[in-house]
C-alpha cells in the first residue's frame, strides 16, 4: 500500500474525501458547528477539479441550491447540524417527491434548539426519518469511524444516485471531530454509481415513468425540457388531482426503498455468534459498546454488538432475528430512546433496555458494561 495515501484526518475531512471520491461536483451550504469543516474542505477542493462550491445565505438556500445543482446532472452535497437539519426538512421532502438525488450530512450536536453546539448527540435519528411532512422514503447512513465516514459517504452517494432520492449521512460530533489514521482508497477500489440517464428521444421521455421502479433522470439543458414540481404529479411531471395517480406515485416512491432494503441495509456484527446479551448501537456510542462487549467477554459474559450502518430503513430483519437468540438487547444512545423504541417495535422475545444520555457527554464503556452484567 502506498504510504502517501495514508492520512491522519478528522471525520469531517474524511467526509470531503468520500464525497470527492464519489464524484461530487457541487456543494451548497451554510456554516454550522460541528459540520463546518465539510464546507471548508469542499470550498478548497471543488474549484481545483472544476466543481462548484457556494456558501448560501441560509440553510434552506443551501439545500435548495444543491437540489438545483443536482438537476443539472452534478452529484451534489450539503452538510449541516441539528438546527440546520430542521430548516432543510421542507427541501428534503421536495427531493423525495421530485426524486432528486442528494446527499445531506448531519453532524449531530446536542439539542433541542440551539442546544449544545459543540457537544455530541444522536438525537436526530427520528428527525432523519420523520422530519419532513407527509409519508416519504428515508435512507440514513450511520458511520462510526473516520475511515468509515469516507467509505459510507461514497455509499450514500451511490444510494442517492441509484434510488433517485435524498440520503442522509448521520454521525455524532465525536466521530466528526475525531482524528484517526485512514487510507484514501485508489480509484476503482470502491464502487461508484451514477444515476441512470434516459436514452430515449426527448419526446418519449417521462421523468416519472411508472414502467420503471426508478425512472431515469435527464439533466436540465440536454434537450429533454421536462417539468419538475413538488405537487403530486403524473408520469410526465405535471401536477394532477387524480387520486389514483397520486396514490400510485406516493406508493412507488416508498417501494424504491421498501423493495430494496437488502441492498440498502448494512450491519457490522461483533461477537454476536454465541451472544446471549446483545448491544445495538451506532456512531461513537457503538465504539464504547464494542469496548464494553470485550470487557464482558473477558468477564465470561457472552455479549455481542450489532452496529447498523444503515439506520433507515430500520434494520428490522437483523434485529428481529437477533431478538430470538438473545436474552436482552441493550440500546445505548445519546438521546432519550429514539432507537430503543424501534428495537422494541421489532423485537420478538428479548428484553430491550436503553441507556440514554442527553448531557452532551459520551456514553462510556463502563455504563454499557454495567447494563450487560444485569443480564448475564
Amino acid at each position: 500500500m502506498a504510504d502517501k495515501k495514508k492520512k491522519f484526518m478528522q471525520g469531517n475531512e474524511a467526509c470531503v474525501e468520500g464525497a470527492l471520491y464519489a464524484g461530487c461536483m457541487f456543494y451548497a451550504g451554510y456554516p454550522i458547528t460541528p459540520s463546518t469543516e465539510i464546507a471548508e474542505g469542499m470550498s478548497v477542493r471543488l474549484p481545483k477539479i472544476g466543481g462548484k462550491f457556494i456558501q448560501m445565505e441560509d440553510e434552506i438556500g443551501g439545500i435548495a441550491a444543491a437540489l438545483g445543482g443536482s438537476l443539472t446532472g452534478l452529484k451534489s452535497l450539503t452538510a449541516t447540524s441539528g438546527p440546520g437539519f430542521s430548516l432543510k426538512q421542507e427541501c428534503i421532502g421536495y427531493a423525495c417527491l421530485a426524486e432528486i438525488p442528494l446527499v445531506i450530512v448531519n453532524v449531530m450536536r446536542g439539542g433541542p434548539s440551539t442546544g449544545y453546539p459543540t457537544g455530541p448527540s444522536q438525537a436526530d435519528i427520528m428527525q432523519a426519518k420523520w422530519g419532513t411532512h407527509g409519508d416519504h422514503p428515508a435512507i440514513s447512513i450511520t458511520p462510526a469511524y473516520v475511515q468509515e465516514i469516507l467509505t459510507e459517504t461514497v455509499r450514500a452517494f451511490n444510494l442517492a444516485e441509484k434510488y433517485r432520492t435524498p440520503v442522509v449521512v448521520l454521525y455524532d460530533e465525536i466521530v466528526g471531530h475525531m482524528r484517526e489514521p485512514i487510507v484514501i482508497p485508489e480509484k476503482g477500489e470502491l464502487e461508484v454509481i451514477d444515476r441512470v440517464k434516459p436514452d430515449c428521444k426527448p419526446e418519449d421521455y417521462f421523468p416519472y415513468d411508472d414502467k420503471y421502479e426508478i425512472p431515469p433522470l435527464a439533466p436540465f439543458g440536454k434537450g429533454y425540457r421536462f417539468h419538475v414540481t413538488g405537487l403530486n404529479h403524473k408520469k410526465d411531471g405535471f401536477p394532477t388531482n387524480d387520486s389514483k395517480i397520486i396514490e400510485e406515485n406516493n406508493l412507488r416512491i416508498m417501494r424504491k426503498v421498501e423493495n430494496h432494503k437488502d441492498d440498502i441495509w448494512k450491519n457490522d456484527e461483533f461477537m454476536l455468534g454465541d451472544a446471549e446479551v446483545a448491544v445495538f448501537s451506532i456512531g461513537s456510542t457503538a465504539r464504547s459498546a464494542r469496548f464494553a462487549v470485550k470487557q464482558a467477554r473477558e468477564a465470561g459474559i457472552k455479549a455481542g454488538l450489532l452496529r447498523p450502518l444503515t439506520i433507515w430503513p430500520f434494520p428490522d430483519k437483523a434485529v428481529t432475528e437477533l431478538s430470538k437468540k438473545v436474552k436482552a438487547i441493550i440500546v445505548p444512545e445519546m438521546n432519550l430512546g429514539q432507537m430503543a423504541l424501534e428495537v422494541q417495535r421489532v423485537s420478538k422475545k428479548a428484553e430491550v433496555a436503553g441507556i440514554h444520555r442527553v448531557d452532551g457527554e459520551p456514553i462510556n464503556p463502563a455504563q454499557i458494561f454495567e447494563q450487560i452484567k444485569r443480564f448475564k
Binding site: K48, A65, L71, P219, K222
Partner: protein
C-alpha cells in the same frame, strides 16, 4: 380602453416569425388564472421577449416558487422547475451556478419573492448571479384567497386586513437596487409592448436582472377594494399610478407625485458571480 403606451418599436427584425405555440405546452392549457388576471399578459410578453432575444428553448430554464404566478413554468416548453414557496431563487442559483450555459428565468410573485423568499432575493441581487427575475406584483396572496402581501398599499382591504392594511409596502425595485442587482426595471401588464421590451433587455443583461411587474388580481384585491373590474384596475393602478422614466423629467411635479416609475431604473456593469468564480476562484485554486 386606450392603446398601450410606451410606444416601443422593435430595434431589429427577428427572422423567425413569432408563434406562441412554439413556446407553450398547449396540452397543459387552460391555465389556472382567473378571468381578468394580468398574469397571462405577462406570460405572453415574456415569451415574445424570449423569442426576440433569440434564445434556444433547450438552454432556457424557467424556475418558480409557489403562488399563482409560480404556475407559469408548467405552461411553457423549456426546462421547467416549480419549487417551494420562496425558494425559487435558491434553486435557480444552484441550476445557474452548476450549468452557467443555461439562461435561467425566475418567475415569482410579490409574496414569494419579497416575504417568504426575501432573504434569498437580497442575496441573489448581492451576488449578481446571471438570473432574470420577473416579480409578478399583484399586492395579494391569490392562491390562498386574498391575504395582504408585502406590496399591499396601506389602508387596503384583504382577507387578513379587514380593518385596513397597516403595513407599509415594499418597493421591489428599490430593494433590488440597494441589494446590488445590476439591472432593475419596472413594467406593468397594461403597458404590454413596453414590458416585452423591458424583459428582453433584462434577458440580454449579464448579472441579476429584476423586473417588477405590476399586474392586477381582480378576484381578490379588486373585489375587496371595490374595483368594478379588471380593466378599471389596469387603468387606475397600472396606467394612472405609474409614469415612464423617459417622461418623468418632462412632467410637472404634481403629475409625478405618488407614482411608481416604469422602465429601466438602474443598469450598471458589475462582475457576474459565475464568471467571478471561474476567473478568480477556479483559476487560483488550480494554480495552488
Amino acid at each position: 380602453m386606450s392603446s398601450p403606451t410606451g410606444g416601443v418599436v422593435k430595434k431589429e427584425k427577428v427572422s423567425v416569425p413569432f408563434d406562441y405555440n412554439k413556446y407553450l405546452r398547449p396540452n397543459k392549457l387552460p391555465h389556472i388564472w382567473c378571468p381578468g388576471c394580468g398574469h397571462g399578459i405577462v406570460l405572453k410578453a415574456m415569451l415574445r421577449a424570449i423569442h426576440n432575444a433569440g434564445l434556444n428553448k433547450d438552454n432556457v430554464c424557467v424556475i418558480s416558487g409557489i403562488g399563482c404566478s409560480s404556475r407559469t413554468p408548467g405552461y411553457v416548453d423549456f426546462n421547467t422547475l416549480h419549487t417551494l414557496h420562496g425558494r425559487a431563487l435558491s434553486f435557480a442559483t444552484g441550476v445557474k451556478f452548476a450549468n452557467p450555459k443555461l439562461k435561467v428565468i425566475v418567475v415569482t410573485g410579490d409574496g414569494d419573492a419579497l416575504a417568504i423568499g426575501g432573504n434569498h432575493f437580497i442575496h441573489t441581487c448581492r451576488r449578481n448571479i446571471d438570473l432574470t427575475v420577473l416579480v409578478f406584483t399583484n399586492a395579494t396572496y391569490g392562491m390562498t384567497g386574498g391575504q395582504y402581501s408585502p406590496t399591499t398599499p396601506i389602508g387596503s382591504q384583504a382577507t387578513t386586513s379587514r380593518y385596513g392594511n397597516i403595513e407599509p409596502p415594499f418597493d421591489a425595485c428599490e430593494m433590488a437596487k440597494a441589494s446590488g442587482a445590476s439591472f432593475v426595471a419596472r413594467g406593468t401588464a397594461y403597458h404590454t409592448l413596453e414590458l416585452e421590451k423591458t424583459i428582453q433587455e433584462a434577458l440580454e443583461h449579464k448579472g441579476t436582472s429584476v423586473v417588477d411587474i405590476i399586474d392586477a388580481c381582480p378576484t381578490y384585491f379588486g373585489r375587496m377594494n371595490k374595483f368594478k373590474g379588471a380593466s378599471q384596475m389596469m387603468e387606475e393602478i397600472e396606467k394612472d399610478k405609474t409614469v415612464s422614466v423617459k417622461q418623468v423629467d418632462k412632467l410637472p411635479p404634481e403629475k409625478v407625485q405618488g407614482k411608481m416609475l416604469r422602465g429601466v431604473l438602474h443598469k450598471v456593469d458589475r462582475p457576474e458571480y459565475c464568471e467571478q468564480y471561474e476567473t478568480l476562484v477556479m483559476e487560483k485554486a488550480k494554480a495552488k
